[in-house]
Symmetry: C2
Subunit: 206 residues, 2 copies
Amino acid sequence: MATARNAAAAAEKRRVILDAAVRVFARQGFHTCRVSDIADEAGVAYGLVYHYFRSKDEVLDTLFLERWNVMLEAIREVDGQDIPARRKLEAIAAFIVESYRHDPDLMKVIIVEVTRAANSFGQTHLGKISEAYNLIASVVERAQAAGEFRADISPQFAAMAFYGAIEQVLTGWIFDTLPQGERDIDEAKRLIVETICGGLDRPVER
Amino acid sequence: MATARNAAAAAEKRRVILDAAVRVFARQGFHTCRVSDIADEAGVAYGLVYHYFRSKDEVLDTLFLERWNVMLEAIREVDGQDIPARRKLEAIAAFIVESYRHDPDLMKVIIVEVTRAANSFGQTHLGKISEAYNLIASVVERAQAAGEFRADISPQFAAMAFYGAIEQVLTGWIFDTLPQGERDIDEAKRLIVETICGGLDRPVER
DNA sequence: CCTGACGTTGACTGACCAGTCAATCGCCAG
DNA sequence: CTGGCGATTGACTGGTCAGTCAACGTCAGG
């Protein structure tokens, strides 16, 4: 049983390092922190980080991919349900917002260091990031075909607006430009979808 | 007249360095490039960059502030006009889109290295950046008071969605995630406002 | 108890680069 | 022609870190 026990212990150590990295990246930023900061935070020797990861970059890559894949999976799951498109967008927005509520540090790292860092890591993961845009775009496209959404706005474009609005709101929370009480966070789920689907215009009476 | 001629020449040299920096930052990114790259691109000795700027950071700060202030001024000017709110948002979107068309490299640098780099330079310029959000929010707020826009979406929030959508579209162009023919760029101005104001929902018949 | 494989350590190295500075240049006024 | 001042040059320095590696610890299986 030695191997199994070791493998489990090794996986745990790896996790400890990843979790420490999230805190350090969130606090200091990826470029500003040193690998030794991660090791210190994890309570582990400098070299051990290189035992579990090939490079500092790989630590961030791992964090990003782990979480992003979960999100893509969630979007696909929502997309498969037989509900109105607007409900789908609500579910997607809710998932992302809840991800933030559940682990703000991790979301901060992913958004600030990868998603919005289109130059450095965003470049590397452009493909993965685009997958999310494309999934959203296809939700919109099918909604247009079904007559749920107006057809004169390109789905790609609508996806950008939708995702852009979400990311901007999270960024607002991350950098304290927007209030982030429990109430505000719940309210945001509604507002995002309401803004993008309903629009700002005062509706002609119903 | 020595002083005057020198002053003009000095201002020109400074400009040459700034313009070179835009190209280098756009091509390689701020963190990845060396100060010597800027000097080379400008056809100037390394040390001269430090004659005109205190630091590498100051070069980027200057580029950002120069352009951002022009934009804030433009938004204020639009806001002062006596036109419907929707027209104001159209004008703001058009201004930003045209800024991109006119100098994509500069806009790329500002968005990628400052606006979206909320960790490094974004932090420094958070105040300036927020000014833009606040101006947009106040356009929305007054439109709500006047009954032009529905009142159940917070102006701050609407501003985030609006600005977020624009930035996401520019980012799409910058990283070739969205098509950027002349037609697409013109179309974008309309689509951004149409999406945010009109919403994605198929309108109940008019 | 021994052995060897693997987890763990942290001092060290090599590369890189921002910013400095002493030396030179070029232009103008007197 | 000359003195002087600001523009210009680029070699050099100091500090920083990512990544390496040789040594040490631990533990399971023989």
